[in-house]
Symmetry: C2
Subunit: 102 residues, 2 copies
């Protein structure tokens, strides 16, 4: 399982979230991903690596192309973070609000 450090770090960058946005409707080669983005292609390559390390995307080779698509593994880790963590938050929040009133 991926650690949350990498996942949240990967998601903290807007350009990387743009990358995810571009491939959310289906896999895409690296060049095409870079087309829509305001940074150079090498920069996108570096972002892709970070996203891949976080297991948020997957790589598949096809000739000279590299097709990138979403990887649900990192997502699963995030989901666990929610289920295991924030379920408590919601219930505890009430106490906080209630004691805040006079």
């Amino acid at each position: 399982m991926q650690n949350l450090d990498n996942i949240f770090f990967a998601l903290s960058d807007p350009t990387r979230r743009d990358v995810l946005e571009r491939i959310r409707n289906g896999p895409m080669p690296a060049g095409k991903i870079a087309e829509g983005l305001p940074v150079t292609r090498p920069a996108v390559s570096q972002h892709l690596r970070i996203l891949k390390d976080a297991e948020l995307i997957q790589e598949r080779r096809e000739g000279t192309k590299r097709i990138y698509g979403l990887n649900p593994l990192g997502l699963e880790a995030l989901k666990e973070f929610f289920d295991d963590y924030w379920s408590v938050a919601m219930t505890r929040f009430k106490d906080f609000v209630e004691t805040e009133e006079p």
Copy 2:
């Protein structure tokens, strides 16, 4: 509503996630939050500010103390990110895996 930049950035730091961990079972004054952490109290103050800007925590004053507790607003934004975004990811993932096999 909060933007995801601030939220993911806030969550990308392990110390800040430690802060959240410490207050997830109930609000706590800043000093007590800092006790368990390996950084100085001013550093914790700075982290608290970032978490507060991201609307992940709330502040309430009580005398000279400042009590911090979880704030579900940032969390709601994150939840939307999931529901609105990753529901697509899961279904699209199948296509990717299937085309990967020979």
